[in-house]
Amino acid sequence: MRKTPLFESYARCGARVVDFHGWALPVQFSGIIEEHTATRTRAGLFDCSHMGEFIIRGEAGIAALDRMVIGDMVHLAAGRCRYTALLNDSGGIIDDCVALRLGPEELYLVTNAGPLDAVTAMFDTTIPGIESVYNRTAKLDLQGPQSRQILLELGLAGIAPLKYWSGTRCEWRGAEIIVSRAGYTGELGYELYLPAEMAADVWDAILAHSMAVPCGLGARDTLRTEMCYPLNGEDVDESRTPLEAGMERFIAWETDFPGKARLLEMRERGGYPLLTPVVSSDRRAPRHGFELRLDGRPVGAVTSGTFGPSVGRGVALAYLEAGAAVPGTCLSAGPKDMKITVAEVPVYKGGTCRVRLD
């Protein structure tokens, strides 16, 4: 298994390590519910160094990326982040990613670990001026209402002016780093892109703060599921289009992208299945693969499901027939006819991610 620069640091924090897309990563430290709650109320620190980072330099490269993804990369303003997706020729989702426009001629792109080798090969042959930097970059996410205070106390002044979905390059602890405020938990939070050799010191410095708690993939999953953010490889893959995945608002229809003709046709015809949140009537969770039924008739299946600690119920994402994907609809799930209800996005509504800061 591949290891991130923080592998040794996990052990000291009591991590239980699992294989995630070939990476040895912590699934939990103190416990998923405790880590989840710490992130919602204080701050959780996540090692996301397994993810892919690329720098694209030059307008030609940015334009080339623009033609591969659903969003408008060309007109993305400097300092802004944008969630987007990389499509195959039939409009299927190869990967979902976050783009950060660092400047007029420079764009930073963050991708998932699962399809990373394939995506790297694709970029290398298609995008001029692209450089993969993930082998020397550590990504640390500090998420939670106290995240800003902790980083400011540690002297990371560069985050002070950041609005939701923006980012910048800045100096910190004698090095040049990139920071953004995007997140995957629903809470106020920051992503730090650091030279790999800095990672262990920064991990220790953040965790020395009484408000910060180390968190694993388990809590990351419960937090994102409550927010209804899809997970690549679980909820979205090449068999699903951005329309089905609920990403229509991220599609810049005036730009060109692979599979555009098919997506236009789908949109015109309508009636496609939609990735939809559902919640259970109790603490049991609908799990991956559970069939969902409306009056006994199959209308879809769960792609990811878990107990949601902040809502105290089972929460899941499922592809549902258009007619069933209506909030309030009662369905039965799985072999034991669990009672569930179609919910609105997000399931957890108390998140601090959009908080305005002065």
Binding site: Q28, R283, R284, A285, R287
Partner: protein, 126 residues
């Protein structure tokens, strides 16, 4: 209960004899593997269980699994507290985290269960 005096199954349930009844729960290894337990469903009092039959359900944040009857018998008591305070399974698996008690249980099947030493070796081999 003292883990050393209990008997065990390969599905990580423990069984202990107490006042003529068999107390059943899941082991420390099982709760450790499951992580935070979020839901427990117990059998009904009076239900007759055959060895290996589905007797209870335990769900954690990450997974759902069935608990099988370690031996045949009739459900005499259930631990209603653990249905409401599911983290007792994590905090005290051999004590307040017990699941149910069986009466009229099969003594031969009880004798066939693993001893503490055998179970410990079984877990280490995994």
């Amino acid at each position: 209960m003292n883990p050393e005096s209990l008997r065990y199954t390969m599905d990580h349930e423990w069984v202990g004899e107490q006042n003529g009844l068999c107390v059943v729960g899941i082991t420390d290894y099982a709760q450790e593997q499951l992580g935070d337990v979020t839901y427990v469903e117990l059998p009904k009092i009076g239900q007759r269980l055959k060895r290996g039959e589905e007797a209870a359900v335990v769900e954690s944040v990450k997974a759902a699994s069935d608990v099988y009857a370690p031996l045949s018998g009739e459900v005499a008591e259930i631990n209603e507290q653990v249905e409401n305070e599911t983290d007792l399974v994590n905090r005290d698996p051999y004590g307040r985290g017990w699941f149910f008690k069986l009466k009229k249980y099969d003594a031969v099947e009880y004798a066939e269960l693993m001893t503490y030493t055998a179970y410990r070796a079984f877990c280490q081999g995994r």
